[in-house]
Symmetry: C2
Subunit: 173 residues, 2 copies
DNA sequence: ATCATAGAGTTAGATTTCGAAGTATTCCAC
DNA sequence: GTGGAATACTTCGAAATCTAACTCTATGAT
């Protein structure tokens, strides 16, 4: 080993071929691509909503809660767990969101008289007004976030996402 | 208005038909569905990676950085901005991630001698070892997170996500 | 009746993220 | 070259999230 580089190989060189093997197997790569894209879209979607609703001082998370509650046609209120599930966040995160919204008078919390373990959440009058205002003033209808996709593609996208989630949930059990 | 309810209508009733209109227009609903699903998948993907890599004390975010750096075949190092972009996080978030990884000795930061504004990041020897270990020991190859989807579907999913992101980015300008 | 178990929600503490302001370096017009 | 914009990254403080532990109510077995 005379005239060649006698310096020890750079950190990467030693491991590179193992990694090459890993990459060649490709198992991770397609996942990684999806993962990156999913995070990116999640982030940007939030940003878009935030900007759209900034005037009214409503965050994307709060909007998710409000529009969920607005669709509670039976008007019996939704529980925090249902809301957390619908929004795909941990229950404790929903507690915090609701705290803030209660404080701002957008929603009200009351314990279910029929089962005192449960809490029910409803939009207040103020909450309804703000929701309506948001719909009217914030271009929530006209300006189309996902304009790059046709309706058919959106449905396809949602389906694929939901299937992937289902598969991941199944793994947990 | 005699024998009917004379109590003032409940908060919801007053606004419900406006909302019905909004929902009927449907503009928001398909977006909302995608949004929820995207968040859900992002969350669960992170959880899966976290659990998978918990033994080695690597977070999903750190894994993203490591596997990105591992693919830096030219071994010249990647800049924080490139990494942030690849991982779809804000630059400041990447700074923090790298801080921690440097502290743990997984990566090293050095200023690019050719352009002293730039910083270059590379895996250290330790970093490479840990990455290799993760591949070998953590089932990163065999256990397939997205098993619910065929390869073809994954590609489709990634495409749709990327198109949606592209559209959103275009909106910003 | 009573005690153990399970379920819903909250609290607590740590982590992660973000946006905005700040610092240092380079590029460019003149 | 000199002053001013532009670029790359970091620092700072605030906000949102997570997991794990805790409280309170309900259920069910004995």
């Amino acid at each position: 080993m005379g005239s060649r580089k006698t310096t020890k190989p750079s950190a990467g060189e030693t491991y590179r071929k193992d990694v090459a093997l890993f990459v060649a197997a490709g198992g991770d790569e397609s996942v990684q691509r999806v993962m990156t894209a999913v995070h990116g879209l999640a982030r940007r979607l939030n940003q878009w909503y935030d900007r759209q609703l900034a005037d009214l001082d409503i965050s994307a998370g709060e909007w998710a809660v409000m529009s969920q509650l607005a669709r509670d046609v039976e008007a019996r209120g939704l529980t925090p767990s249902v809301l957390a599930d619908a929004a795909n966040v941990a229950p404790s995160s929903m507690t915090h969101r609701l705290d803030r919204m209660v404080q701002r008078g957008l929603v009200e919390r009351f314990t279910d008289p029929e089962n005192r373990v449960r809490v029910r959440v409803m939009l207040t009058d103020t909450g309804w007004q703000l929701f309506k205002l948001a719909i009217q003033e914030s271009d929530m209808l006209e300006s189309d976030v996902l304009r790059a996709l046709t309706v058919r593609e959106r449905v396809k996208l949602a389906e694929l996402l939901e299937r992937a989630i289902g598969g991941l949930d199944a793994l947990d059990r």
